[in-house]
């Protein structure tokens, strides 16, 4: 496995867990509208942000993601009514706990993007990429595969 070296050509790997109904559709819209955004984000589509097990976030970090983004419908607009409200509770605690043990808060970001917000999706991805780039490659919790 390649060493995590922060040279100027380094590009962060970001995993995004997005919900099927809002953010994934938002990403689709961004694509259809031909909006430009950094190609660092790999989307994983899930039924709902409430389906995102906190383990996915931690596991992504362990397996070499430099940043993780979780995004769902805006509160009150969840396809399953309350999925994102449960998600919000889980992730407010998860984010606090991750930074408590010493992991950079900007590595894990949570947001809401609705199906009509193609522009916002592009904007969020840009923002996340910039934040993670500023931190450099992830070193904590990262498993080394020899």
């Amino acid at each position: 496995m390649t060493e995590n070296k922060a040279n100027e050509n380094w590009e962060p790997k970001i995993i995004a867990f997005v919900c099927n109904w809002c953010t994934y559709a938002g990403a689709d819209l961004a694509g259809i509208s031909r909006l430009q955004y950094p190609p660092n984000v790999r989307l994983v589509r899930l039924p709902c942000s409430g389906r995102v097990n906190p383990f996915y976030v931690v596991k992504a970090l362990q397996e070499g993601a430099d940043g993780v983004l979780v995004s769902g419908c805006h509160p009150g607009e969840c396809h399953y009514i309350t999925g994102n409200l449960s998600a919000r509770r889980k992730f407010s605690m998860l984010k606090n706990f991750l930074s408590y043990v010493g992991i950079e808060p900007d590595r894990t970001l949570f947001t809401w993007v609705s199906a009509s917000e193609g522009e916002k999706f592009a904007h969020v991805v840009k923002g996340v990429t910039e934040k993670v780039k500023a931190l450099g490659p992830a070193k904590k919790l990262v498993k080394k595969f020899e």
Binding site: L85, R89, V101, G127
Partner: protein, 336 residues
């Protein structure tokens, strides 16, 4: 204490004789002078074995859950109409009752399946602190006299103030008296130093990110993954824990340090809004891993983020991650 013990035995005897319970989970004298072991009493005569003292450390709610579940499993092949309920009596101090409340909220068993014999608690003696106080020497005799613990080792007898050897979680415990009970034994215990409950967490939060990470990795580096902490935890009752799952395999079984960190991080995160701070994990850990500094943070966050929630405080407020609200704080959301 002796008085409480006497009453406790009488009550236990009565419950068993009247067949109000099938078994009573309590503490009995351990094999070492400063230990009490969990025990299961099934006939009235054996109620004499019960003790209640400063050495009763582990949270007995774990066994209540285990017993009821084993019984349920054993009845799988019994016709539904012939199935029986197992009624478990338990000697419970504050944290034990809070765990029972959590079990009830999480629908693990019914309220009529447990008979809570409430006892007041003034904190138990931490084996780790005691060992440190006598430089790891073997304790030959040990007894409580007033505010001090008189300990005999090969070096002679010395008096140690109780405060110095009482478990950290007990010193700042808010619920040292049972929150629910079917009968109470003895008078309520005086309040503990609740104002300093989050002192360690506040201190840890004020450290730099690197210092926190160094401490986390140092502590988790000691862990040998014996899973004793999980096995003793009353909130860890999953039939198959994630560490043993193979599809998907959440954590590797090797000696990779990140696997241990991920195991610990996730096990602790499963305690979000569910840890009653009974200190059992710390008591059983053979390596002295400091889990409490981290677990207490989850407690503090649940309190601050979700309407001053305290685990197991009442049957009516659900654990925060079992509920939701449109009013939750959102500061952590990126570009809302």
């Amino acid at each position: 204490m002796e008085n409480i013990e006497k009453q406790l035995r009488e009550e236990a005897k009565k419950l068993l004789a009247e067949k109000k319970v099938d078994v009573i989970v309590g503490y009995e004298e351990g094999t070492l002078p400063y230990q009490a072991a969990p025990c299961f009493i099934e006939d009235p005569e054996s109620a004499e074995r019960l003790v209640w003292n400063k050495y009763c450390s582990v949270n007995l709610a774990k066994y209540v859950h285990d017993l009821i579940f084993q019984h349920k499993e054993s009845q799988k092949r019994t016709k539904p109409e012939e199935r029986t309920k197992k009624i478990v009596g338990v000697v419970a101090r504050g944290c034990t009752t809070r765990s029972i409340v959590l079990h009830l909220q999480e629908k693990q068993y019914d309220r009529d399946q447990v008979v809570v014999i409430g006892v007041p608690c003034t904190g138990y003696i931490s084996k780790k602190k005691l060992a440190a106080a006598v430089d790891g020497k073997e304790v030959i005799e040990c007894s409580v006299a007033g505010d001090a613990l008189s300990v005999t080792t090969v070096d002679g007898t010395k008096d140690i103030p109780l405060k110095e050897v009482t478990a950290a979680n007990c010193l700042t415990c808010r619920f040292n008296n049972p929150v629910i009970s079917d009968m109470m034994i003895g008078d309520p215990a005086p309040a503990m130093d609740v104002d300093n409950e989050y002192k360690e967490v506040d201190e840890f939060e004020s450290l730099s990110e690197e210092e926190r990470w160094t401490y986390f990795t140092k502590e988790m580096g000691k862990c040998i993954r014996c899973y004793a902490c999980r096995n003793t935890c009353p909130s860890c009752y999953c039939k198959v824990c994630f560490v043993e799952q193979s599809q998907p395999k959440w954590v590797g079984a090797g000696i990779d340090e990140t696997d241990t960190q991920v195991f610990q991080f996730m096990r602790m995160f499963h305690m979000a809004g569910r840890c009653v701070d009974c200190g059992s994990c710390l008591e059983v850990c053979p390596m002295g891993v400091d889990l409490r500094t981290f677990l207490k943070k989850l407690d503090k966050d649940a309190y601050n983020l979700f309407d001053e929630y305290r685990v197991g405080e009442s049957l009516d407020t659900l654990p925060p991650l079992s509920a939701h609200s449109t009013e939750d704080k959102e500061e952590f959301i990126f570009e809302p």
